[in-house]
């Protein structure tokens, strides 16, 4: 994905988090992760991304 599209994704998720509100944010982000992962063929890469996201929090 190019930088402009990545920025578009960034903006859209930020606006969606505000739209769903703080109580639903966690479920919203989990749904988003799961549905993005479902379009991914490679399990090992998904697991690596889960680990990457868990680090540096």
């Amino acid at each position: 994905m190019n930088q402009t599209d990545l920025e578009q994704v960034y903006d859209s998720i930020a606006q969606a988090i505000d739209a769903v509100g703080p109580e639903k944010t966690e479920v919203f982000l989990a749904k988003l992760s799961l549905s993005l992962a479902a379009d991914y063929d490679d399990l090992a890469s998904v697991i690596a991304k889960i680990n990457q996201a868990s680090n540096d929090l």
Binding site: Q3, L6, Y10, I13, A14, A19, N55, D56, L57
Partner: protein
């Protein structure tokens, strides 16, 4: 300061050595997240251009240079300690009631340019308001003198030890002054935050973050929040608003001073051309669309930067934190922290701009700011000053006109290459260094004053 601002000052006859003795050029930025570098960016630069992409220079030097310029000019009189008390407008005159420590008097003005700052008295007396948005994020801005050995670059510290959750910006200024901007948390009270002891503690913590252990002096500090505010119209009859009196822009786009200079440059030459009968009065109508358009363009870019620097809502905050955290291990996300590298606004829609000649494959387009290049023994920017210029590529240029200087150029040169020129190509450059029009095959029989105004063609 950005190059177009620097070119603007240069064309106002500043002596280069004075500027160059002080101003610090730079082109690089580092961004850090929790102490680790996540992004290095480089601004475009080229040996073909006289000036570097950015210069750091304290406001008082700009003021000093402007004053020196005013002092040398027999047509300008400086009146210190004068207060504007009242404005009375009639059809062809603006009457300004002025009060100074010795007297009160009225000046009758044909034209007024109100460059009287963010709290403009002129704006208030005319009954106008700035419209737009205030952002929540507040920053304390402090100047520190210290012998800190580091590059002249822009450093942005996200979530550093000194300001957990906040952002810090560090710039080197001339004479060992370091400008530190640090964000206040939502729980911090502004009044307490700008108490000297509090500023000293905060600065000391930032210096610990960047590993500076030497002595330092606190020179000056203040507080600000990001605004995107502007007037609906930069003109009220015979009064023009310029700089902060017309617009407040967030600092993150590095556009405050530069935009003010561009406003002054714009209305300055237009008034001069009208008052010396080189242009019709309606040239003045182009001021608001050109300069207000430029402000809106800054807002569009600065809004993105501001959302990253001071996230306004939970959504922007969560995404910002996520991007920074991912950036520690993946550079694609660090680029999201890149401050927008804006190019100066293009006056493509202005009535003074000719339709761009689509046969060009390179070079600055109609309405864009000119591109500097080597010319004669120096640079093109040295040859452009005070009036319209026609750069004619070829051996038989047309003659100068009272409204326009003609510069002969070689199509087979660096300038010719950068401007995609061949024999007979011409670029018409406005006094404020924007391209008014360009023609691959210029028709010399049409070289007259009407060319200065595309709308009359």
């Amino acid at each position: 300061m950005r190059p177009h601002g620097r070119d603007a000052l240069a064309s106002l006859y500043f002596e280069y050595p004075i500027f160059d003795d002080h101003a610090l050029p730079w082109d690089t930025g580092y961004s850090y997240y929790r102490g680790k570098k996540i992004l290095e960016f480089q601004m475009p630069d080229s040996a073909n251009e006289k000036f570097r992409p950015m210069y750091n220079l304290q406001q008082q030097y700009i003021e000093q240079f402007l004053y020196q310029c005013v002092e040398k000019n027999p047509f300008i009189e400086m009146r210190w300690r004068s207060e504007l008390m009242q404005i009375n407008k009639d059809t062809d005159t603006v009457h300004l009631d002025i009060k100074d420590p010795l007297r009160s008097y009225t000046i009758a003005c044909d034209w007024v340019v109100a460059a009287d700052g963010a709290r403009s008295t002129t704006r208030r007396l005319c009954g106008h308001r700035l419209n737009g948005e205030n952002y929540e994020g507040r920053y304390v801005i402090a100047d520190v003198q210290m012998d800190h050995d580091f590059l002249t670059i822009r450093r942005a510290l996200f979530d550093p030890k000194s300001r957990p959750g906040g952002t810090v910006l560090i710039h080197k200024q001339p004479h060992n002054i370091w400008r530190i901007d640090y964000q206040l948390g939502p729980e911090e009270n502004a009044q307490d935050a700008i108490a000297e002891t509090s500023v000293r503690q905060s600065v000391a913590a930032v210096l610990a973050d960047i590993g500076y252990a030497g002595t330092w002096d606190l020179e000056w500090w203040s507080i600000y929040s990001a605004n995107t505010l502007l007037l609906d119209d930069y003109r009220d009859g015979r009064i023009f608003f310029a700089g902060d009196s017309a617009h407040n822009v967030p600092i993150f786009g590095v556009r405050g001073l530069n935009n003010g200079i561009a406003d002054g440059f714009n209305i300055g030459w237009k008034l001069a051309y009208f008052l010396t009968d080189k242009a019709d009065i309606d040239i003045l109508d182009s001021y608001t669309p050109e300069r207000r358009g430029a402000t809106l363009d800054v807002f569009a870019n600065a809004t993105k930067s501001t959302r990253f620097m001071t996230p306004p809502t939970q959504g922007w905050q969560v995404m910002r934190d996520a991007a920074l955290s991912l950036a520690l291990t993946d550079t694609r996300f660090g680029k999201l922290a890149n401050p927008r590298q804006m190019t100066p606004y293009t006056y493509a829609q202005s009535p003074l701009t000719h339709k761009d000649d689509a046969t060009f494959t390179a070079g600055p387009k109609s309405g864009a700011v000119f591109l500097d290049a080597p010319y004669a023994d120096g640079y093109l920017c040295d040859a452009l000053s005070g009036s319209y210029s026609l750069i004619y590529f070829g051996q038989t240029p047309p003659d100068d006109q009272d409204w326009c200087n003609v510069l002969k150029a070689d199509p087979h040169s660096t300038l010719g290459d950068l401007y995609d020129a061949q024999n007979g190509t011409a670029y018409l450059i406005r006094p404020d260094l924007h391209i008014a029009g360009r023609w691959k095959h210029f028709d010399k029989t049409r070289f007259d004053a009407s060319l200065a105004k595309a709308a009359l063609r």
